[in-house]
Amino acid sequence: MLKHCICHIHCLDHPGVLKVIKALVKYNAIFTGKKIATVTRVTTELDIYERVSSILNKLGYEVITVDNNPLRETGHFFEQSLPKLLKEHQSGMLYYCHSKGITYHPESDNGKASSIWTDVLLHYTLTQHAKLPFTNKKYSVYGSCLIDRKDYLPENIGERFSYAGTFFWLRLEKLTEKTFKPHSKFYLEGLPGLICDLSESFNAGPKIEEGESPYDLSFWDSKGITDGFFN
């Protein structure tokens, strides 16, 4: 079974970018299929853009330089990668991740929480990826930090469930260009819940329950998870 990857890197000079790039380098061998990365070219941080593009090129990614679109964000970038993947492949597993937590200062509470959150997502989707039951056809989407709550995402996007943080594996057969119509910056986060039933989802690691928020350090404290969870 081929394993494809689509990722998005917003090229700011921020540790959140480095965390995901290091993970993609370390686990590059997992991806036996097509690899596509969209990267935003930030004019004030061109050195980061150039290095990130160079690294991803060397890892075998098709790198697409994109303009930022704050209104549709990750869905907007995914929309540009997906047709290139589907042109060559209609089956296999697709992994998605992005530079996460980069809108926060690393020393702020949200920044610290996002860093731990990213560690958890990378741990359960990459480090532990061999433990994900890809061969069990019962499941079509795999991720961590599952939220089964209608009120989590705005505009009724995530009507059933989503993986908070938007790192997930998806059976590519479930996805066609027609099924992907981003209209909101939260669309990609809600995508698993839009195209699959909850019974088709596999959650590794913590689940986020009513009243809990991964933006809060106390949430991670309560789980006994600290920064450095992913190595």
Partner: protein, 97 residues
Amino acid sequence: MDFLTKSMILEAARKQYLTFDNEFREYLAQGNSFNGAYHHFTLEDVEQHKAQSELQTQLESWKTIPGGVKNSSPVRLTAYSISKILEDIDGQLSKSS
């Protein structure tokens, strides 16, 4: 450094960094003289308050709501810069390929 120059630097730092000024005032409130304070506080103290002040400025400029968007870094985070590390990773990949 002579005493006069040091005292001028410390006075300038008091105007620039509120946290340092507060600490300076607390020291005076304990009954110490200005000259005593100029001897007591060091240039390293000033550097610490400068770093603290810069962090506060950065935290303010980076404030956002969950799920917020930033097109570019409001203030470039030089202390956390990943530029050199990315350069090293890129270099290692060049060698291995």
